[in-house]
Amino acid sequence: MGMTDLALAPAILPLVGAALALAGKTARPASARTLERLGAFVGLALPWLPLVLLAPSILQGGAVEGFVGGWAPSVGVAFRFDGMAWLVNLLGFAVAGPAWVHARGSGPRGSAFTALYLVQASALAATSMAADLFNLFVCLEVLGMASYVLVTESGKPGAYLASFSYLMVSAAAMVFFLLGVYGLYRLTGALEYGAVARGLSALPDSGGHAALASVAAIAAAIALRTAVMPLYGWLPEAHALAPHAVSAVLSGVLIKTPLFALTRILVLLPGGGETGAILGAAGAIAAPIGVVIALSQTDAKRLLAYHSISQIGYVVAAWGAGVALIAADPDGAGASAGAVLVAAAYLHALAHALFKGLLFLSVGTVTDVAAERDVYRLRGAGRALRRAGERLPVTTLAFAVGALSIMAIPPFNGYASKAALSAALKGRWQYWTLLAASVGTVASFIKLSLVFRRPKPAASTETFSEEAPPAVADTATEAPESGAEKVPISAKLATATLAAACLAGGLAAPRLYRVVATALGAAPGATDAWSAALYAPAELLKTAGLAAGGLALFALARTAPGKALASAIRNRPRGFHGLFLALCLGMAALTAWLIR
C-alpha cells in the first residue's frame, strides 16, 4: 500500500463501512446490529489510523498528490492530501464519531441510518482532498444527498419540508457551480486546479470576464453550502429539525468542509483573492447579525442553529482575509501572514465543531428528557435530568463546558480560538464586528442556560409563557412524546468525550495553533507572540468586559422593547424564493465586482 492509497483511505474506509452496514439491512436483527457496529468501527474509527500515519510528513508542510488510478494528468482525477485536508479530516472525524455514539441512545438507529451517516463521513473526507473541479462537484453532491436524507431521519413533520428546501436551494446552487466548472473547462480544457490556473495564465487577459464569472459562480455556490450571509436561509430549519447527532455533524463539520475546499481554488485562480475578501467581509457582517437573530429565538435547537451562522461568520471573516493575502502574494511574506489568518479560522472552525457538536448533543438530551424545546418554558432541566437517572450530572456539566466555550471563557477552546481570531484580525474593521458578536453570544447563552434554573412559582411562569410564540407557529418543533426517558449511557459517553476535547483544545491551544499554522504554510514562530499573550491581564480584562457587556445586553433584551424587537425578528417573513433571489443577486454582485 503506497502513500497514495493511505491518503485516500479516510474517504474509502467509511464507504466500506457503509457497505457493511447496508448488508445488515436484509440480515437477521442480531447480525444486522453486529454488521452496523462493525461498519461504524471501520468507517469512523479506522480512518484515524491513516491520519496518524500521515501526520508526521503532512504536518511539516508536506502533501500527498496524485491521480486516482494512476492515470495521466490531463485525463485523470487529481487529489491532494495536504495539511488542510488533514486538518479538515481531524475536525470531521472528531465530531462524527462521538455523534454516532450519541445516536445509539437518542436515535435514529438502524442499518440504513448508519450507512447514510458513513456515506456522509466519506464525502467529507473526499471533499477535503479534492483537487479536481468536477470531482469537487461529485463530492459536494454526495455530501448534500446524504445530508438531505439524514435531516428527515428525525421523523419530525417539519423536517421533510426543511430537507426539501435545503435540497432545492442547494441543487440550484450546484447548477451554478457546474456552469462555473464548464466555463473554466471551456477556457482551459483542464479540471485539475493547477492545470486550470496554468491554462488561464496562458490565455490573453487570463481568460477575461468568462474566467471571473466562472470563479464567481463556483464561489457563490460554495458560499451557499457554507451558509455565508445572506445565503443562510436553508440552515436554521434543517439544523434545528434534524436528529441531534446529525445536527451536530451538520453544524460542526458540514458547513466548513466546502469552505476550506474552496481555498485551493481561490488561491490559484484570477479573482480568487478578491472573492475571498468579499466573502470574508460578508462573514464579518454575518457574525453580529446571526447573533441578534439567535438571541430572539425561543426554540433551543433553532437558537443553536442561528449561532452556527454567526460562528461561521467568524471563521469566514478570518479565512477570507487570509485567502486575499495568499492570493495577492503566493510566494512571499503575504502567504505566511495569510496562512496565519487561515490557521486562526481553522482553529475556530475546530473549536466550533467541538463545542457546537457538544451543545447540540447535550441540549438534545435535555430537550428529550424534559419533552420541551422552548427556552422560555423549559425550567429545572437539571432536575429533569436527575429524574431521568443521571446521578452524576454529566449532561449538565457538558452543557456548561459547551456554553463557556462558545462564550469564550478561559480555559476552554472557544477562548483560545477567539483570541487567535482577534490577534490575527487586529487593526481591521472585522475585529470590531466580531467583538460585537461576542457580546451577543454571551447574552444568548445566558438566556439558554436559564433552562437549568429552578422552575419559578406559577405566577411568574406565566410572564415567561407570554412571550412564547403562538402555538401554530411552533407546531414544527413539538417536543418528543415521552418525557420520562432515561439518559442513555451512550449520550453521556459522547458528551463527556466532546467536553474533554473542548477543555484539551483550550489548554493545548498554543501548541495546536503552532501545528496548524505550520501545516498551512506559515513561517515558523509566527504564532509565538500570540501564545505568550494568551493569558495576559489585558486579554482577561477584555473577556471580563465582554461578559459584563453580554449580561447587560441580556438584561436589555428582557425589557419590553427588547421583547417586541425579538418577536419582530423571529417572525420576519422568510421563504424559498427569497433565498434563491439572494443566491442569484449575490452571484451577480460578485461577478460585477470582479469584472469592474
Binding site: 457497505a19 436524507v149 433571489l581
Partner: protein, 243 residues
Amino acid sequence: MPTRLAALASVLAAAFALWPLFALDVAWPGTVRDYLEAKGTVESGAMNLVSAIYLGYRAYDTLGETVVLLVAVTGAIGMMAAGSALAPREAGGAPVEPARSPRREARSRQRTELIAALSGKLGAVILIFGLYVMLYGHVSPGGGFQGGVVVASGIVFLALGSHGAAPSPLVGARNLARIESAGFAILLVAACLGVASGKGFLAPPLPGGDPVSFIIVLNAVIGIKVGAGIGLLCVAMLTEEAA
C-alpha cells in the same frame, strides 16, 4: 406578485452573472480530445471512449455518482416507509388496512389480464436486453448505468406480470435490496483490488492483463447494483411494500 418579481429578478441576475460564459470566442481547447484520440482506446482497451472515460480515467467520479444513486434510493425508500407508517394515522380514527385503501383498489382495477400476460412474458426479454447493454458497454453505446435501468424496467415488467400467479423471486423487495447491497460491496472490493496488487485504488488490478476486463467487471457490477436499486424503488412504489 412578490414571488413573480423575485423570480424575474433572479433570472435577470443569473443571466447577467453567467452571460460571459456564453459569449466566449475562444477556440475549444483540444488537449484532452487529442490525448483520448491517440491513447484512449489503447490505454483502457475500450472501443467506446465514453466507457474509457467514466470507468477508466474518471472511475473515482463514477464511484461517487453510484453512491449518490444508492443514497437517493435508500432515502426514498426510507421516506416511503415512514410515510406509509404515518398515513393511516393521519386519516384519523381506525387504522386503514393497506390492502383496502382506495388507491390500492384503483390500481388493481387498472391491471388487466392482458397487461399481466404480456408484461410477464416481455420481462425476461427486457432483462436479457439489459444484460446485453450492460456487458457490451465497452464496445458500443451503453454500460452499467444504462443497462441497469433497462434491467430495472424488466423487473417492473415482471412485477406487473406476476399479478395473481407465483411472482418471480426478482420481484421481492428483500431480494432486490440484498442484490443491491451485494453489488455495492462487490464494487468496493473491485475498486480496492488495485490497492492489494500495488497498482493503486481504482486502477486495473491485474498486472499485464487487458485493462478492458476491469471495465467489463465494473460495468456488470454497476449495472446489477443500479438495476436492483431502481427496480427496488419501482417495486416498492408498485406494491407499497418497503424493504
